[in-house]
Symmetry: C2
Subunit: 287 residues, 2 copies
């Protein structure tokens, strides 16, 4: 086909996918082309804007490393991640809700035993978490693999601190016991801005958006026979619960962080400063 | 806003751009969000597909260097580049049509005088180009800056050959003389596949598309008082004129490559092999 115009190019591109023998890929690519072309036509994208878009995408890709995922951050800040999460994780009533994965999970996690202090030397007030993981019928989920990751009191994840090298902290992979229980010590999470030193941060600044997320702990829970749950536990009060930069807050995911004065901690140790406890019930949907 | 659902998230994201004080940026970002969300809803994108998309974009970004622009290649192969080109370059009748820019232009170009052999030692049959650049009223365009770049007989641009290092060939920046004329020797372009060693190549393979482009020379022509023209001159016959991988062929841009037997070339030199000539009229639209 020659002499393609702005009016018939979409059909010309779609026709080019006619030979695709993977029906789902053909469907997704076709829809991607149609919606992308519609976007360009609607805004009458100029060549300078097209080039700015090319440069934005390129810089976003070049910002990615094994420990920094700028495209996930872009997806998060445009509500794409939460949309995909919401569409794909509609669990039965009673099951713990899912929320966004975020860009800071690492597939390799330090293993820890129940009761461990996973915070290491991360700055922050002590937090003792007692999590109980059950199925919808109330049955305990034994030997569930639980990944935990979080920012510290400075609002930074371990992978955002070059000075830590390969050292990981406030991050662990643990397993529930036979009663579906899991305990760990860590630090109290605080609100933090998503990374603003890359193209996505520049987009937030240029569009007048704040980069803050309300304080939270991340969890990914995998267990035989159950749906994998990727979620957060948020802390209240928090100034950003209603304007999370990545649209992830669910009322049902706000945990009860209880303050305690200096004294004996849940693990029997003596603390000279105040500390917090969080008793959290998590309910997994069946696979 | 809390408890955002797949149904109301688009409005929630749009509301977040309310404070953007650049109206055009606000319009473009809003439309981008709406069309992206519509795409995801239409195909019911799964989390695994979302992650595959994140990985595809990341790899596309990481493939980019100063001499390789994989995002432009993606834009080209999805018809986005040609759509933007067609929308933004609707010239009056009589002006030479525009086509896609492609990923192989370099802003730094070797300068050459009219009459030069810009092909260097690039493999290929000799081609003598005599280009006449006029305005719509027939007036010659003196001192126009003309960038020329092309693939060689192996179907490769200089920047695709690591063995060349920083040496450039079959690529030049020249200027028209007082009569709007420009002559150069180069090599005859041949059809070539767009680069298939990256994520875009993998997409073409996975969707059953061929990566070929019909043979062409690239031109970018800039002159005071005229619209900048980015175009190709194609050669016929060519098996890919009707299935250009990047949708760029226009009938009006097919040039007359005339074959000549061994003998005296247009520049007065004696050639022991056949060679080609191309006399090409180019008409620039006013700025």
């Amino acid at each position: 086909m020659r002499n393609i115009t702005a009016d018939n190019i979409t059909d010309a591109v779609l026709a080019r996918f006619a030979g695709c023998d993977n029906p789902r890929l053909k469907e997704v690519m076709g829809a991607l082309v149609r919606h992308t072309h519609d976007f360009i036509r609607e805004v009458k994208l100029t060549e300078a804007e097209w080039l700015a878009g090319i440069q934005f995408l390129t810089q976003t890709g070049l910002k990615c490393t094994g420990q920094r995922q700028e495209f996930i951050l872009l997806s998060d800040t445009l509500g794409v991640s939460m949309l995909v999460t919401a569409m794909n994780n509609q669990y039965p009533a009673g099951a713990t809700e899912a929320t966004v994965f975020g860009p800071f999970h690492t597939e390799v996690m330090p293993l820890a035993e129940s009761g461990a202090d996973i915070g290491g030397d991360a700055p922050g007030e002590p937090l003792f978490v007692n999590a109980q993981i059950n199925g919808l019928g109330g049955e305990p989920v034994a030997n569930a693999e639980v990944d935990i990751w979080q920012a510290d009191d400075d609002g930074l994840y371990d992978v955002q601190r070059p000075e830590l090298g390969d050292t990981r902290r406030a991050r662990a992979r643990m397993h529930t016991d036979a009663q579906g229980n899991l305990k760990f010590r860590t630090v109290v999470p605080t609100p933090y801005p998503v990374p603003t030193d890359g193209p996505v941060g520049a987009m937030l600044v240029a569009t007048g958006r704040h980069p803050w997320r309300p304080a939270h702990l991340h969890f990914r829970i995998r267990a035989q026979g159950y749906s994998t749950l990727i979620t957060h536990i948020f802390r209240a009060p928090d100034p950003y619960l209603d304007s999370d930069a990545v649209f992830g807050v669910r009322s049902s995911l706000i945990g009860e962080f209880v303050e305690h004065p200096a004294g004996t901690a849940p693990d029997g140790s003596r603390l000279e400063r105040r500390h917090f406890t969080l008793d959290q019930q998590v309910v997994l949907a069946p696979a």
